[in-house]
Amino acid sequence: MNESKPLLHPFSLIFIVIWLTSLALLYEDLLVLSSLLIICILQLFLHNPGAVSRILRRVLYLIPLILSIFFFQILFRKQGPVLFELGGFGIHLPAVTLSAAVGLRLMIIVLAAGIIFKLDFPDFRNAFGLIRLPEELAFMVSFVLGFLPMVSESFAHLQSVIQRRGVESRGFKVRIRIFKLIVGTVLANSLAKTSEQAINLELRGFRSQGKHSIYQASGLRMLDWSWYLAIAGLSVILYWISIFPRK
């Protein structure tokens, strides 16, 4: 988190993400999930405004997946009250609610991940150090978070290398061959990169000298505690929404 001074401690940001994603998995109620989605978008604007357009683009990429879930649920789920019927074909309420819930959950997870998108290893070390978790764990988490963008970048780069050789990916067989090769290369490169990182860490003597001081260690501030209070309040409101009887 190098560009600007963060509003909250990295630990608080991680906590917000865990809170949002856990509630998204716990609740099935569409109203609660929609509220969580709105909270998620607001948090993203507040904590990582620079990444909003990129993250929203990722959410757009999810739309075909969400639509296909809708399609299969509507086609195969035939229990519960009927919302719409034409001839022998009917759309049932549970199919619609379940697919909407899955769609909202996916969007919440992607948007929530965006909140901690710009945290780097020192931020994770700072956050994990606050609750005395080992820095190996901080490294693993920061590496995994950086892994997906690395893979998608590698995928795009290999496509560009193939294109600039003048290869025309016409025909199903050629496309499948190219796709297989790109996937294989991305996996092989990722594994090679991972072992390279492990060697680099060993060469730097990672955790070989026992306990040492942490650069830029900081505690929670008043603003962080206010956020925890707000999260507790929101949790109560969401619980109340979920149990409130609705027609």
Partner: protein
Amino acid sequence: MYRIDGLAFSYKQSRELFAGLSIRQQGAILLCGENGCGKSTLLKLLAGLLHPLAGRISYDSQDLEQLGSKLYRQIFYLEQDAEQNLVGITPKDDIGIWKLALRLPDTLDVLSEIGLGYCSEQQISLMSQGEKKLLALGATPWLMDRLWLLDEPLSGLDKDKKAWFIELLRAKIARNPDCIVCSHERELLIPLFDEIWHLENGRIAIQSLK
């Protein structure tokens, strides 16, 4: 043949390169300049991998934006970092991809031609920098009719392999002189080229060699 008119480019939060550069490429060009002067960026712009902030780049009178991927059937671009040019887990995979674009002989023959016949099944990530560079140049004997944009083609190669590639470049220029090669090995390459482009402070000084 490339034509550049009023080119300007800058990376995010970085100084502007090529303030209004206009130039026309004809024949074999050796691109020289100090580190960071924008040689590789210029080649990337010519290869259509970067987009100018202002100005126009055209190839055979057609705008690069309009040409799109058709450009890649007429040029061969080599990135400075050899690994960035390679696809696949082994050299065999990489040559296999070239075969989708070119009529090449048997994969092992291609690899033997560049002296890599012994490592057709080896992982690319475990190969040396020189071997990766050779592999990246592997299809060049079959790309003589394309315009070459080469970024440091000699770096990482040993003396014999440099001599092999210089001979190949000589044959290419004799057959089709269109190429822009960026290299710090000026003394080795000067005899082959028609012009040297000295890139400094966003401007190009042309030195004719013929």
